[in-house]
């Protein structure tokens, strides 16, 4: 992979921030967009914009074709059995809420258990906590070891006859730890439980094959993988999706709304995946995401992963030169993705992020929407986080370390 050629595709990387060249290390929050994605969106609005489905005019046909071809490309990207198993949503959060509010509300009740890990993003905790209060089921939290890796034995031990679904992120958005979701999926299925995987930090960075993993549900966001904001994917096995009630009601998700005076409306639902896509979807977003997927496929997901691994290894090595920095997460590079959370002695994470910002380096600070992990496992008030992607370089890491060394002197 020619990183300099890749960088040329990202117009924003030419920006100066506070008179310094932009170094963008906040990729776990959102990624930058290549020209190809931007142009695909402009092209759609300039040449094909129309609402999709159920119209007979040319523009609608073109828009529908682009939208559905996007679905097909994305379904192949995650190796779904059929494109009807891919539902467009706003992002990971909406996808998990969809499962909690449709499958969850109709299948969970008093005495049932949902098993999640303590390293989850709030989006894989809060929907379950809210629906648990509505339906009276219990949430069990599997432990995470002090180095941020999953306590597999504890996770597996917490399965019981009451466990109806297990929910786990494939990659932690704080430590970058890669979880063996295949192992947990096998344990879930042996127990008769379903498996939901939060792929927000894995699908953009690893080759994810839903059939090989045999997971039941997968959620991921377009904007974390070079695509636009406001578009994401909910994948579910067809038989499960068919049995689930719709998430929202409105146009597109119905076949018929037959009115009988004195009786009301008799509603028949649309087929998959449209049953879950009420209203006008983010058509342009789906097309942009498809272009992002195409970009990643051209780069090769193995190359993307190799590049990030190299950057992470290099960064971890260079950070050893900093005396006041503590890295959170495992030292073993094989266990992690391109996310490094850290602390600087006697400085808050926000100060570290503000100083980096002063030098044009964008990193994140805070809980990263994973308060339980920070409080319960890492015992931290917050952390600073640098996260890498396809366009980052070793030279940028050198500059970052140089600034961190300056910060240490404060």
């Amino acid at each position: 992979m020619d990183i300099q050629a890749v960088r040329e595709d990202f117009p924003i990387l030419k920006r100066m921030i506070n008179n310094y060249p932009l170094i963008y290390f906040d990729n776990a929050a959102t990624t930058q967009k290549p020209r190809q994605v931007i142009e695909a969106e402009v092209n759609f609005y300039e040449k094909h914009n129309s609402n999709i489905h159920r119209a007979v005019h040319t523009l609608s046909l073109e828009a529908t074709d682009l939208y559905e071809k996007s679905r097909e490309r994305i379904s192949k990207f995650i190796n779904a059995k059929e494109s009807s198993e891919v539902v467009f949503v706003r992002g990971t959060t909406e996808a998990i809420n969809l499962v909690a509010y449709t499958w969850g509300l109709s299948n969970l009740g008093k005495g049932d258990e949902v098993l999640v890990s303590l390293m989850e993003h709030h989006s894989n905790i809060v929907p379950w906590e809210i629906t648990a209060k509505l339906k009276g089921f219990t949430i069990k939290y599997a432990n995470v070891k002090p180095d941020g890796t999953l306590d597999y034995e504890d996770f597996e031990a917490k399965f019981s006859k009451k466990t109806k679904i297990a929910c786990l992120s494939q990659v932690s958005n704080v430590t970058g730890v890669i979880n063996d979701v295949k192992r947990i999926t096998e344990a879930a299925h042996d127990n008769g439980s379903l498996m939901l995987v939060d792929g927000a930090q894995s699908v953009p960075h690893l080759s994810v094959n839903v059939q090989d993993l045999d997971i039941d549900f997968l959620a991921f966001s377009g904007h974390k993988m070079l695509g636009p904001t406001g578009i994401g994917v909910f994948y579910g096995k067809k038989a499960l999706l068919e049995a689930m009630p719709p998430f929202q009601g409105g146009g597109e998700m119905i076949k018929e709304v037959e009115f009988s005076r004195g009786v009301g409306c008799n509603i028949s639902l649309n087929e998959l995946p449209w049953k879950f896509e009420a209203g006008t979807p983010n058509i342009c977003g789906a097309i942009g995401l498809s272009e992002a997927v195409s970009y990643l496929q051209a780069a090769g997901m193995d190359n993307v992963q190799r590049h990030e691994k190299d950057l992470t290894k290099y960064a971890l090595e260079r950070l050893q030169e900093c005396r006041k920095i503590t890295i959170h997460g495992p030292g073993d590079i094989s266990k992690r993705c391109g996310i490094i959370s850290f602390g600087v002695e006697s400085l808050s994470s926000h100060d570290v992020a503000l100083i980096c910002d002063n030098y044009g380096i964008m990193i994140r600070s805070g809980y990263h929407c994973a308060q339980p992990l920070h409080q319960e496992i890492l015992k931290l008030q917050s952390s600073a986080r640098a996260s890498f992607y396809i366009y980052n370089t070793r030279e940028e890491i050198d500059r970052f370390v140089e600034i961190l060394k300056e910060i240490e002197q404060l």
């Binding site: 926000h350 100083i355 002063n358 805070g366 809980y367 917050s382 300056e406």
Partner: protein
């Protein structure tokens, strides 16, 4: 008569247990703002030419030359606004 809106772009509570507040000043006015603030406060430390550690009344805060400030121990938005008014107006 200038108001806080003329100088403050956004106020954001930090994410984390610290409960600090970050004030983003209007970027195009940052130099004027920093200069005005420095006239009114006690400068405890100037670090690497980019951070000022400051005290004003009973509050200590850090001001960055990029036009951002991080305040600690501010109880609520009213208290922050009162403080900013004294510093900026």
């Amino acid at each position: 008569m200038p108001t806080l809106e003329d100088y403050v772009a956004r106020v954001e509570g930090t994410c984390g247990a610290e409960k600090d507040v970050i004030v983003f000043f209007k970027y195009e006015k940052k130099d004027e703002i920093i200069s005005n603030i420095l006239k009114k406060v006690t400068v405890n430390n100037k670090i690497a030419g980019i951070i000022f550690e400051l005290t004003f009344e009973n509050f200590s805060f850090r001001l960055y030359t990029s036009g951002k400030a991080i305040f600690r121990g501010v109880k609520n938005r009213e208290e922050l606004n009162a403080l900013l008014s004294k510093l900026l107006l």
